[in-house]
Each structure stands twice: as C-alpha cells, then as structure tokens.
Symmetry: C2
C-alpha cells in the first residue's frame, strides 16, 4: 500500500517508521523545511512530497499535524481524493474535526482516529519505533465511515498490535480531557509555579527528585501541539479544570484548618487510583 | 558499627539493606508487627529489637518513621543515649523536628538529614537496594551538631555515594514544599478529579496512557507518611498551593477567553523547565 503521512513529528514520524517496517511505501509532507530534511536523514519516510503529490500517489492519507492544521487540511483532502482513497487523522481532539468532516460529501472516506500514545518530545527527532504497540487507539463515529475505509484502518491498527475502542467524538473529547489534557495543564502549571519561585529563590531546583520530575515531565510539551488541542476541547477542559481546582481547594482548606482527618480522608480517597494504575 | 533503624518502611528498610551491604550490624524497631515480621523475612535487618534494646546496642540510631513519630521519639532518644551515640532522622520536613531537637541538652548528638529519594510505595515490601546512590541528601543546621557526629554521618552518605548539601531547616522546608510536597498534592488532586468523574462516567480510565500515569503516580502514596508531612510544612505548602492554583486560574482564564496567545505564552514559559529536567 502507498501511504502519505502529513506532518512528520513525534506521532506522524513514528507511524511512518512502523509503516515502512511493515513493508508499505511511505511518502511524507512536512511544512517545516528543517523538519523535512531531518525526516529524510532519519529515513522516517521513503520520500518527501508536496501535498498534491501525496494526494496523487497514496491509497491512505494520514493527517498527523497539530489539530488546527487537521481542521484546515481535512476539507481540502476530502475534496481532492479519488473514491478509493482513505483519509485518517491522529488528532488528540475529535469533536471539532468531526464537525468539519461531517459537512463533506465524501465524509465516508474519512476515519477519525486517536492513538493514545506519545511522549513529551516533538518533531521528527522525537519519532521512535514501538510507540504504538499495546496502546489503545480510539476510532470515533465509525458508522459514518465507509466499510472498506474502516476495514483498511482496522487492518493497520491490528498490524501495529493496538487495542481499538469506539467512541462518539464528544465522548472521546470528555475522556481525553480527564485522562490526558488536564494532566498537561497540571504539569505546565506546576512548572510555572516553581519557575516563578526561582526568580527570587536561588537553587530551588537543586533538590528536585523523581516525584517532581514525574509530575512536571509533560511541561516540556510543545505549544504548537497543545494550544490548538486546549482550544478545540476547551468546554470539556474547563469543566475538568474547575473540578481539579476544587480538589486543590479542599487540600487548601484542610491545611488552613490544620485538619489531619480531612487530609487523611482526601489521601485515602485518592489512593483508590491504585485500582487503575 | 552497630546501627539501629527505627521504622522499617520504604526509606528505613532500604537504608538498612545498604548498611548491611556495607558490613554494619543492623538492628531494627518496627511498631507494626506484620511489617516487623516481613522485614525479617526480607532480611532487611539482622534482628528486630525493642526500642530500649536499639538504644542500648547501637552507635547510630536512625529515625525513619513518619515525621509525627520522629517528633515524638527524638526527645526520648536524646534523653536516653550515651554521649558517644548519634541520632539522625530521615524526615521530609525539618523545621518542626529541629525546633524539638533544639530544646534538648544533647542537641549536638543529633544530625538532621533528608535523603531526596523515594517511590510512591511504602512499608518493608517497598524497600529496595540502590535507592540512595547519586541522590541528594540535605543536612540541616549542621553547626548545631557535634563535629564527630557530623563526621560519622558524612562518612555514611559518602559510602552510599550520595551528594550532600546544607540548608537551614526553614530553607529546606521551603524547597521541599516546591519540589516535592506540592507534586504530591497535585497528584492526589488529579486522582480525585478523575475518580469523582468515574462515579457517573463509566470507563473514564480506559484511555489513560503514559501522561496520566506519570502525573498521577504519586497519588498512590500513603496517608500515614504524607498527612504529617503536609501538617508540619503547612505554612510553606499553603503558599505554594495558592501560587499553583493561581497558575491554574491563568489557564482557566485563557480557556474562557478562547485566547491562543495567552495559552501560547503560558506554555512557552512552562517549557523553560527543560533547562532543569
């Protein structure tokens, strides 16, 4: 199969590597020239093409750009593809992208996908093998995709040893807000809290150990990826963020009241996370 | 040397293992009978003793209990030890414990220590080898400790290949609030946020991937460890927590205003954490 990957960063580059390993011919489009050069040097794709060349030669087109670019590119691709071609995206939000896709006469050729895999790094340098194996991938609103398009996509995720689950776009976005997007906001905010203190407190990071690194790791994540995700999912994310702030306020109250029993209760309830992770 | 470790959990148990490896005779006291039994089964110590036996036989006494128990035990130990004996503690707070120590005529026999090492697990089962190598250990208010006591303690941390730094008790507590304690409150609160949602949203954890696990890992930490830490350091911790909530409020405002530029600015500033971790 001929596959075109649009956007050769962490996700697109890692996916391209896997597709090459599985024997597919993989071409790529990358808007950033330095990244395009690096993608070729790292042999993430067989060839760099223009967008029109990608559309011309491929059976499958994969949108792996930031979600604002997915929104802008999807109508263009659906307008230009022939009837046998399939378009998928790997965006971390789905509601806004599906709303765009649903306007289109060729909606059926599109399959909305979100592989739940990633790291805090970005760009072609961040592409790695084995990013996807044993991870979940969400396919949204699958009944709106053509059967042959779905079948092609399922075959690829099976080959990658991913676990496929199905959600509506809206339900996906709610879940993603709770188990991914809020973690990023929390990390960014923790980093800002300590960086702010550093301005008048020398060496504040000297004692940072594993716990700090763990909770702040995601704060390295790139703004060009996360600003559009946060904006596209802002209604759900605001709900989670306000609920998270309420939980922090409960700790604040317990500390203000010097209340061992309140802290004990909060921590015991939080410990139920052991059944999950 | 004969070493008595009081409290055979993650930190005390791991320390006991290392001391045995270095050839010392290690006895232990553990208030929890099940834990005491397990500590012997895992050969964390050569022998379980009563508190008085620990004091009787040891050159060095190590308090590795929760910080509230350290506060209660330290005056008793200082009252009972002979002049050549040394007491150290491994508490994650230092201000309150030092205030207790400073009242005592044998203050010089005590060295306040905090090894910046740990995991989210607790109890003798959590004890591991190699927990301390290459980590920082803080020694607080060292000028108030006798020279021979300091020398003994430095020798041990050198043998463990730890990096020793020196702070006042108060400065230690400020730093610990920023680079350790707030990370725990953040993790507990994130866990509570998602667990609360789970009550009416089935399968909310299905998509949880690496990012979520990373930020919520510390929420498994034990209340008997963390409630007394939070209470002893509550004044500094309240300051950090309020500052952290302000940063989250900035994200909330940016989302409410649908402001790409505000989100871009917040994330770019948070990305400066790359210079640290």
């Amino acid at each position: 199969m001929k596959i075109a990957v649009i956007g050769l960063g962490l996700i697109g580059g890692s996916f391209a590597l896997e597709m090459k390993r599985l024997g597919h011919h993989v071409v790529g489009f990358e808007a950033d020239e330095t990244h395009a050069k690096r993608a070729i040097e790292r042999r993430l794709v067989d060839q760099i093409c223009t967008m029109d060349e990608c559309i011309e030669v491929s059976d499958l087109l994969v949108l792996a750009t930031p979600v604002d670019a997915i929104n802008a590119l999807l109508p263009e691709l659906l307008a230009k593809i022939k009837d046998h071609q399939v378009v998928i995206d790997f965006g971390s939000t789905k509601g806004a992208i599906l709303a765009e896709a649903n306007k289109h006469v060729k909606r059926g050729r599109y399959v909305a996908c979100h592989p739940m895999a990633g790291t805090e790094f970005s760009g072609p340098e961040a592409a790695v093998t084995d990013l996807f194996a044993n991870k979940f991938v969400v396919i949204c609103d699958r009944d709106d995709s053509d059967a042959d398009a779905l079948s092609l996509v399922n075959g690829i995720f099976d080959a990658l040893k991913m676990k496929t689950v199905h959600y509506s776009g809206d339900l996906h976005d709610i879940h993603a807000a709770f188990v991914s997007h809020i973690s990023h906001i929390s990390s960014f905010s923790l980093a800002l809290t300590v960086l702010e203190k550093e301005k008048n407190q020398k060496d504040i990071f000297q004692l940072a150990a594993g716990g700090f690194t763990s909770t702040v790791r995601l704060a390295k994540s790139a703004p060009h990826t996360w600003v559009p995700i946060f904006l596209q999912n802002r209604h759900h994310l605001l709900e989670v963020l306000q609920s998270h702030i309420e939980q922090l306020r409960a700790f604040e109250l317990a500390l203000s009241n010097n209340s061992a029993s309140s802290l004990q209760d909060l921590i015991e309830r939080a410990n139920h996370i052991k059944k999950i992770i």
